[in-house]
């Protein structure tokens, strides 16, 4: 626990530090850079957000946008056990329940892992150890943080398996991961991550490897469990449908930075960043009449080594020339408030964006 006394901007501003966070989780100006032979990969480059208990934040972005790196950064998994590799350079602040994690003693952070904050991974088959039974792995997760005997821990494991909807939990507790189906494995993974009643649950693409019908079951389960446990949840996904189902707030990432953040409804109905428009337009939707054509974002995601100067999205943005003086290519836009609790990082004026959205984009969706 380190108390940092820095003077800084007001809460909610993307940069700047203030000593006393009021939110349950607060990330301030997080940067995660990886040195490689080709140059410095700026996977996350100045990310800030807050999250309250009982709320769900959806982080949306494409591959390489930095969303998974962010989650591993919060868990402290970029620094734990990175043998011999060039160390990730991490800066900024991550406040969890009043503790700043980046400057805290690594062993203290380790003790928080799995107890106060837990994580569900994308592919439950590779995320579970193939050689240990499901029960063993859950018992282990429980006994790291609770001084109980194996019998008690196993009862707890059975209880958790039962809670996540695994039939015959007292038998299945002794099964190995390969004996489970994909959906069952993800349930087991969820049981393991919730065994210590964590206050923060990070789900990194929890349903990407699953079939739709199983995905529906798992999303339903996560929603129910959150209600029951009252944890804060971060759900990381590329699927706007999944965030729409679960998230209260949405954070859209592009090129390692947040380009738009706000309440889910605002981000879906009044998006104020061209990249968010692009995501919405790229997606065929079952709930609408058949679109004539999808509206893709041209080009490819940016290199994280040579991030385009100015706005990282400018080479792909159809409106890059709307602001004057070539500013999109020279000045990096900061997040600015576009509505209540709603921020976007774009050089266009709010009026310009409102007009483009309502007149050009929304009617085509």
């Amino acid at each position: 626990m380190t108390e940092l006394s820095k003077t800084g901007a007001a809460l909610g501003e993307p940069t700047g530090t203030s000593p006393a966070p009021t939110s349950f989780l607060e990330v301030r100006d997080l940067k995660v850079h990886f040195p490689t032979d080709d140059g410095l990969v700026k996977s996350v480059d100045g990310l800030s957000f807050q999250l309250e208990k009982g709320k769900t934040l959806g982080i949306v972005g494409e591959s390489g946008s930095g969303k998974s790196v962010t989650s591993l950064g919060i868990m402290g998994l970029h620094t734990a056990g990175q043998y011999g590799k060039r160390k990730a350079q991490i800066s900024g602040e991550i406040w969890l329940n009043g503790t700043e994690l980046l400057s805290a003693d690594p062993d203290h952070v380790r003790k928080l892992r799995g107890r106060d904050m837990a994580m569900i991974f994308q592919d439950p088959l590779s995320a579970l150890h193939p050689y240990y039974t499901i029960g063993h792995q859950i018992v282990e997760a429980y006994r790291i943080h609770h001084k109980v005997d194996k019998k008690t821990a196993k009862r707890r494991a059975v209880e958790m398996l039962d809670r996540v909807g695994i039939p015959q939990p007292d038998k299945r507790v002794d099964s190995y991961p390969h004996e489970f189906s994909g959906g069952m494995r993800q349930r087991a993974m969820i049981a393991m991550s919730l065994v210590n009643n964590p206050e923060l649950l990070i789900a990194d693409e929890p349903t990407t490897a699953l079939d739709v019908t199983v995905q529906a079951q798992i999303l339903d389960l996560i929603r129910d469990l959150q209600k029951e446990f009252g944890s804060a949840v971060i759900i990381i996904t590329h699927d706007l449908g999944v965030v729409a189902e679960l998230a209260d707030d949405i954070l859209v990432m592009y090129g390692g930075r947040c380009v738009e953040r706000g309440p889910a409804e605002k981000v879906f109905y009044e998006p104020r960043h061209p990249y968010t428009w692009g995501l919405l337009g790229s997606m065929p939707r079952l709930d609408r009449e058949q679109q004539e054509r999808l509206i893709p974002v041209k080009g490819s995601p940016p290199s994280l080594i040579n991030v385009p100067s100015g706005c990282a999205f400018n080479p792909r943005c159809p409106y890059a020339d709307v602001p004057k003086d070539n500013v999109t290519r020279t000045v990096r836009p900061e997040l600015s408030e576009v509505g209540s609790r709603h921020w976007a990082a774009c050089h266009m004026t709010q009026e310009q964006r409102e007009r483009i959205w309502t007149e050009e984009i929304a009617p085509k969706l």
């Binding site: 998994l77 043998y83 011999g84 799995g114 991974f121 995320a127 150890h129 039974t133 997760a141």
Partner: protein, 332 residues
């Protein structure tokens, strides 16, 4: 698990019979097809035809093949009597053949020499496992460091330097130079310290070679395992790094090491010819080398069978251990 064990045992038994048939076939039939007279090779170069004929009679070499095989099999369980005219040689069960060159049954030769080789192989294996795995793990964890590079250079030299070089080097330094050991083999029954003192240099020499190979495979496997998702999961649970490495990563790293160990032990028990020769150990390797020099076919046959048996048993043990480690194997 039991079903798996029974299956493996059955397969091993079938395999053993197949091996005996093949080995027998190679040793007795190939020379026949090649036009080499085995009987005369048993007698020696300047043999007179009568002696050759007597040997042929004695060994049943003129019998049909299946009869020869049957005699051999029967000999293993019931003993065998070689008789030609009035010349009778008895070879009691288990009879793995009879060396007419040295005029003794093969089985006692094998049982005499087997413990020496087994001791050499097992002792060296313990050493190379300890040092090889430790070096490999440390290298992996300190990847890219001076320590890693140094260890890998040592490992590379271990792999590339031949036994007769490292062996002679250690002999000249520790036995002839410093005089720490007397360089003599003492059977275990006589004196443990004597045995240990005689074995320590061969162990180290042999282990140096294998430890190098094991260090390399451990390092490579460990690095791969450390990148696995389930290792990240283990850390995400809040496990201490020692447990992550020592339990989760080690268990997965053991599988390829175990596979290698089975093969290597089997092969070594069949005769660490170079090591035994260099250190003058009276093991199977030395026996087979002498047999080759003297063209003593029955001894070679016997040692080959024992080697096959050793490989088979080692692999059986490894298969079982493998199934203990990796539950997915039990299904297959």
């Amino acid at each position: 698990m039991l079903a798996y064990l029974i299956r493996r045992l059955f397969a091993a038994a079938v395999m053993l019979v197949v091996i005996i048939l093949v080995v027998f076939g190679i040793f007795f039939l190939v020379p026949k097809w090649a036009g080499v007279d085995i009987a005369s090779s048993f007698v020696g170069k300047q043999a007179d035809p009568a002696a050759v004929e007597a040997v042929r009679q004695k060994l049943g070499l003129s019998d049909p093949i299946y009869a020869q095989v049957w005699e051999f099999f029967k000999g293993i369980f019931a003993g065998r009597t070689y008789a030609a005219g009035g010349d009778v040689t008895h070879c009691s069960a288990p009879c793995f053949g009879y060396s007419f060159r040295s005029e003794q049954a093969i089985w006692p030769v094998l049982t005499d020499r087997f413990p020496v080789t087994l001791g050499l192989a097992l002792g060296a294996a313990v050493l190379w496992l300890i040092f090889g795995i430790a070096a490999g793990v440390l290298s992996a964890l300190k990847r890219g460091s001076i320590w890693d590079r140094g260890a890998m250079v040592v490992a590379l030299s271990g792999v590339s330097l031949p036994i007769y070089f490292t062996g002679l080097l250690s002999l000249s330094v520790f036995v002839f130079g410093l005089g720490w050991f007397d360089g003599q083999y003492t059977p275990l029954e006589e004196s443990f310290t004597g045995w240990f003192g005689g074995m320590i240099l061969p162990w180290i020499t042999l282990a140096f070679l294998y430890a190098a190979m094991y260090a390399r495979i451990t390092r490579a496997t460990m690095l791969e395992i450390l990148g696995e998702d389930y290792i990240r999961t283990a850390r995400a649970k809040g496990l201490k790094e020692q447990t992550v490495i020592g339990k989760h990563a080690m268990r997965s790293t053991m599988t390829p090491i175990l596979t290698m160990l089975g093969m290597d032990l089997g092969a070594l028990i069949g005769g660490a010819i170079l090591t035994e020769t260099t250190f003058n150990l009276p093991g199977l390797g030395q026996a087979v080398l002498n047999a080759i020099k003297n063209q003593d076919l029955p001894v070679i046959l016997g040692v080959t069978l024992i080697t096959s048996l050793a490989v088979l048993i080692a692999n059986l043990v490894v298969d079982v251990l493998y199934a203990v480690i990796d539950p997915r194997v039990r299904l297959a």
